[in-house]
Amino acid sequence: MTTLIAARNLQKVYGDVIALAGIDLEITEGVTGLLGANGAGKSTAIKLFLGLIQPTAGTAEVLGVDAASTVEVRSRLGYMPEHDCLPGNVSAAEFLTHMAELSGLPPNHARSRAADTLRHVGLFEERYRPMGGYSTGMKQRVKLAQTLVHDPALVLLDEPTAGLDPGGREEMLTLIKRTGDEFGISLMLSSHLMGDIERTCESIVVLDEGRVVEMGPVTSFTEETEAIAVEVDENREELIAALKERGVEPLVDGSSIIVEGVIGDQYDLIRDALVAANAPLRRMAPRRHELTEIFERDVE
């Protein structure tokens, strides 16, 4: 796997505030989540990776180049800021063409890439309308499109679902997943929403107070546990009582009944309890950890 970002003892201090306290990390191809609460150091890390600010100490190598030493590397990077950043009186086609040229593409190539990219994000039909009349979801898609128009090797997304309604959020996450899976473009997604990271990312870096507290594949954080989650349509209380009669102490987590330490013939025990309680089974599956639990554990 090619290393896209390599931070070594990367530190950034603003006066008395330590934004990043000497982090070491390597980001490889694929979709990576940069997770952390507000003030964890995510935005500072992104600015350092883009070479927009100088580190107090250490280095940030992006695509094999020291990000602080040259602006040329940004020709192969895309960045989507969290906040609004689109001019209202310009069409998406004009805007994307200009953004492609700004990334170094000649005008004729920029024009055709702009049209193609708008098609990929589902805005082809709307491309000649001034962006001032776009919905929040459409604007967010233009923001994503401007990161892709020059076919970058790596795209950095800062809180890409901020301000979106549930439908818009769903669309954006699907688009991000497609960008990683189908377009073959690597992404780094900064977010404080664990659901977004869990849905889209293959690996994760958890930052807290300027430090890396966890790093690795998302699957290692969401692996199966030795617990079974059972959901029934009715007779929930009867099932709990039936399990207790058989010497099992179940936990209740929302709509699920969790039976821990399940091994071997305990599956038969759950089956017998379901029959005894006359509880119609909706779902029974090994329970997985959730990123929320890991994050909460690390920041405590």
């Binding site: 883009l50 040329e72 590397v73 950043c85 009186n89 700004l102 990334s103 890439r113 377009f183």
Partner: protein, 308 residues
């Protein structure tokens, strides 16, 4: 899906969704990015690629700047024909040297109205953040924008002089002879127009670099010129002498006209009573340089370390 083509039963076409394509073409990096900022600056200044309303202001001013030249050219031609080639002796017609004295107010309003459009919306809409994450620096951005507006201002300054030249030449009995006799006016008005453009570009953009609101910038720029005129001229007239001559330099609207006088080696209609013209030419040139380089450096300072 296979679809037979109408009229050609033997031929068929297939439609494929070729999906996302990687870009394999040339990448021209920072050089292309600077040119893109420059080109976009030109387009913004002229309202190209924007709605109809964005075009009204610049083109109205361009026409307004050219109209006095057109009128002067028509009058000169008519008078010359009516007097049988004795126009100069019958009527004291304004010359190329006088033109900026007559029309400089329109240039200043043009710069105040259009100049801020090149900088303010980028910061107000935060589009600047998308520029700065591409292969350019804040310095590249501001230099390219400055060069774009200077290009527009220079062309707008030259346009009416060329109209006037054409009018005077074709109004004369023999255009060839007229151009032969007056060829020296051409480099003079080109130089004078350029000094005017450099000055107003710097003032307009430095003010625009301090606000995100185009209207505030426009009002402030016009205010500088309007207030400095009675202040400097009134005060310098009352005090008089050398101090009055130096105080007269504070009439910011007349600074490029002092250069115009030096280039044409004659006073124009607007500087006839200006005390600053009594100062040594070197002092006037130094003041012009200060008022041009100063705003430029201030504007550059605002952008050279700008980060999203």
């Amino acid at each position: 899906m296979t679809t037979p083509r109408a009229g050609q039963p033997g031929r068929s076409g297939e439609v494929f969704d070729i999906g996302y394509q990687n870009y394999e073409g040339p990448r021209e990096g920072r050089r292309r990015a600077r040119r893109a900022v420059y080109k976009e600056g030109i387009r913004i200044a002229l309202g190209i690629g924007r709605g109809g309303r964005a075009k009204i202001m610049p083109w109205a001013f361009i026409i307004a700047v050219a109209i006095p030249a057109l009128v002067l050219a028509l009058i000169a031609g008519t008078v010359d024909r009516l007097t049988g080639g004795l126009g100069d002796e019958v009527v004291d017609l304004p010359s190329h040297g006088d033109y900026y004295g007559i029309a400089s107010v329109i240039f200043l309003i043009f710069a105040a109205s259009v100049g801020p459009e090149l900088l303010c919306p980028d910061r107000r809409d935060r589009v600047i953040n998308l520029y700065l994450v591409r292969p350019i620096t804040g310095t590249d951005y501001i230099l390219a924008r400055w060069a774009a507006f200077l290009t527009i201002m220079t062309l707008v300054a030259w346009l009416p002089q060329l109209v006037l030249l054409a009018g005077l030449a074709f109004g004369a009995e023999n255009p060839g002879t007229y151009l032969q006799d007056n060829w020296a006016d051409i480099p003079r008005f080109l130089a004078s127009g350029f000094t005017l453009a450099v000055y107003v570009t710097g003032i307009a953009l430095v003010v625009a670099s301090f606000t995100t609101r185009r209207a505030y910038a426009a009002v402030f720029i016009i205010g500088i010129f309007v207030i400095s005129l009675p202040f400097a001229e009134g005060l310098s007239g009352d005090i008089g002498g050398t101090v009055g001559e130096y105080l007269s330099l504070l009439n910011f609207g007349q600074i490029p006209l002092l250069m115009n006088d030096i280039i044409f080696n004659e006073k124009n209609l607007a500087t006839e009573n200006t005390l600053a013209t009594q100062l040594p030419k070197l002092t006037q040139i130094a003041w012009y340089a200060f008022m041009t380089v100063g705003p430029f450096l201030l504007m550059w300072r605002r952008y050279w370390k700008i980060t999203p």
